[in-house]
Symmetry: C3
Subunit: 359 residues, 3 copies
């Protein structure tokens, strides 16, 4: 199979550098007639694309990229001649997002309810909802206006879903899940599954604790693909407004995530823990159950948080997690432990010799 050229998947746009510059309210240096049909990464730019120099780390690629146009910061001064035309802007990231917004209208299901969807009684759908083939919606579900439900989504009875929501293919909402406005849930994510709770009987066999609580996703939450959020035992598992959760994350029963927090892929948060606002949790982090964490924690990837006794804004690392810098200092010694061990042994020998000498 031949890999199709880069152009293949970007065909939505054809403007020239001057028009692009006007769109971004920038300052053009070079040829305004350059034709642009799509964006590219600076280290993989092709003729006919526009690249971005947002991170100074990538400056070297500015001098080698094949891109036709390069968007740079107003204060950028090239150290050597540049092949692409430049567009200087105040905010390179902002310009990038404006452009991606333009390029990104890749096509979405149009409003309407597929004849191949199964929809239960007492359904209340807002204006312009899109419900795709092979969707199943149980009894008594509310779906706010402009929301999009992709194929193979399951929505359990009593779910209440806000406006402008996107449910990607294969999302599963267990009964009574609440999804706020403008939430995005990626493919195969599961929201509202039973918590992992059992009580041993007299023979030590595990008896399931029935989970009758719910999950509430507040407004503007995004949930990654294949992530799982368990329902509360008898209360609520809650994801605060504006928080973003990556792929393959585990959120256990009764957990609360504060507003505007981000949780990277494969992190896991055990039952009944409360994560503060504005927190940043790295990939593969594990957080023990029943902790009350302060706001603005920054937890380095793979750390294991076993205690809630951290200051607001603390930066954590390690297993169990301690202060980030302290962990790195200890780990720097750890790497030399065999040598230190020898130094201890040398000290012991010398001291022994010295004692024998001095007696």
């Amino acid at each position: 199979m031949q890999w199709m050229a880069f152009e293949w998947y970007f065909c939505a746009m054809l403007i020239n550098a001057a028009q692009l510059c006007e769109l971004l309210q920038g300052e053009l240096v070079g040829n305004g007639e350059e034709k642009i049909y799509g964006p590219s990464q600076i280290d993989a730019g092709l003729p006919g694309t526009v690249s971005f120099l947002a991170n100074p780390k990538y400056e070297e690629f500015a001098y080698t990229t094949e891109a036709s146009v390069l968007i740079v910061s107003r204060d950028f001064t090239p150290k050597m001649p540049l092949k692409p035309s430049m567009i200087r802007v105040n905010d390179v990231y902002g310009a990038m997002m404006t452009l991606l917004q333009q390029f990104g209208q890749n096509g979405r299901p149009t409003p309407g309810i597929s004849e191949f969807a199964v929809i239960g009684e007492e359904f209340e759908g807002g204006k312009d909802v899109a419900i795709s083939p092979f969707v199943v919606i149980e009894k008594g579900v509310k779906l706010g206006k402009d929301s999009i439900v992709y194929p193979h989504v399951f929505i359990g009875h009593g779910c209440v879903i806000g406006e402008g929501v996107i449910l990607y293919p294969g999302v599963r909402l267990y009964p009574n899940t609440v999804v706020g406005d403008r939430c995005i849930i990626h493919a195969n994510a599961v929201i509202g599954s039973d918590g992992f709770g059992y009580k041993p009987d007299e023979q030590g066999h595990y008896v399931k604790i029935n989970h009758v609580g719910v999950v509430i996703l507040e407004d503007d939450v995004e949930i990654g693909a294949n992530t799982v959020i368990d329902r509360g035992t008898i209360s609520v598992t809650r994801i605060g407004k504006g928080s973003k959760i990556d792929n393959l994350v585990q959120i256990a029963h009764n957990v609360t995530i504060g507003e505007h927090s981000v949780i990277a892929a494969q992190a896991g948060i055990a039952g009944s823990t409360s994560v503060g606002k504005w927190s940043r949790i790295g990939g593969q982090v594990g957080i023990a159950g029943h902790l009350q964490l302060p706001d603005k924690l920054e937890i380095q990837a793979q750390s294991g948080v076993h205690s809630g006794k951290h200051a607001e804004g603390a930066r954590l690392f390690g297993y169990p997690a301690i202060d980030y810098t302290d962990y790195l200092k200890s780990y720097a010694v750890f790497k030399q432990l065999p040598e230190y061990m020898k130094r201890i042994e040398a000290l012991e020998k010398e001291l022994k010799a010295l004692k024998q000498t001095s007696t």
Copy 2:
């Protein structure tokens, strides 16, 4: 979007405190006329709900909760006046489970086979099975009585499924998977996928090893959402009776899990390892392949088990995992390593000085 009141999702029950007390065979202290429409958590109790004081850690909330009724242990003596009526019971957890059972009948698919399901030849379905829309069942499948198959489930040919089983939406059973009685498999779990086995050819290219074994889930097993259990290479991957597996867990080919073990979220067990009975495996634990582990191991979250040489009932921690207490002791020193390093350097200096003095 306005968050609906707590009451919204618990509307199944309306009894008063005296009736509740009778149901739980407890002893009432306070007003028997209090109306109860649902349960709540003690730290988030609202008027009209019943809360539980099961864990002494939460006692402080007993004095502040807004719940109308509080279920407590018979030996609980409040340190200050309580607002809710109390019901004293022998076993608070037991009472909680009785109640959750009552509240938890959230509605399930009713028996019957959807006209929108595709069912292969030689299907044998027991009495009162429920098969939902958009289910696909391949040839020669057996499904025991009272089992529930939610929408979008795929059951490969030759699968044998017991009685009273629940397969939540999007569960995938590869061919010839065996599921015991009363098993519960949560949404999007995959059972019976190929093991991760390849053999390099002469050019070092990986050639797939065909996996023709199966997965057997014995009776009373529960599998979490998005968990994956690979089939045996030529034999069986087996989950023992009564074992419970959380979300996003990886069980590789040829693994055996003993009876009545629990495995928390995101743990992974590599190929051909055997986990004993009554084991407790924490979240994000990794266990290497080809180990024979003893019964009743307790493995702390995120540990990495590289060896099978542990005593029955051992408690493990670390990476690679060692005795739990030993790990914590070593880690306590680890945190002070920069200081110890300085002490070693100080010793070296002092000793050097002393040697110069004494010579």
Copy 3:
């Protein structure tokens, strides 16, 4: 429920030992009339099955297995009498794979397009494609000949899929994903979901960065169940030819995986990192973003790779990852840290005493 006998799930083949020997071009020692109906593991062999002694570690089972035929290496000399007939071959693994190939034809969807599939405009399907019930294919998709699409698969618009591909149930391909020839994607894997990228606005609220890049899986790639691969931000997330990725793995946006690499379950690779060719990445490994890793790295399970400064072929372990042997040496001391601490304290005491003596 009674567990069906081993025979239940292997009924495809009935030959005798002599025929088997001829098939494998081996040398028979023992009874050629032994009837074989399927394979078994050496430690779980039953009469009527053929087992393999491929790994010398399992030699003990050769003397106790109930299997009727045992395939061994030509240079294997039993230390005591064997019950099964032996077939000596040059390459035991090769023989095993030949057999598994024979046994493994478990039945797959036959070519044809289900009347219960929904297929968009401008679809181009090659000869003998199989498209199962409840599949949804959006506009403008190409699907190469002999490819199999299992039930509940979603293929977004503009996807280009090669020849001889297998998409297992519930696979989700976001728009414009490219899948090379002979790729296998296991159940519920998600390819092409949005990367985890946001830009804080003035209030610190996270604003979604639109992801318009794609994912390209080159030829002969296999992707495990419930694995997620995010699309590039504006460019490509690429999995190199012949690479194999296990279950529940996270591959973030803009990542490149070189050819012929293997990534075990639950590993995660952060955004924009490039993994070399012929790499071997263990389970639950985490790799930080924006790293350029050399070829042939071997990363031990659960390690955390924070730097790209490693030699080609390096073997890594630890968190952050260092040389494998160095980590083990340091960890050996770590386990004895409390003792070393005491030795430091003893040294301090002795030195103090000695100083007092010598002054």
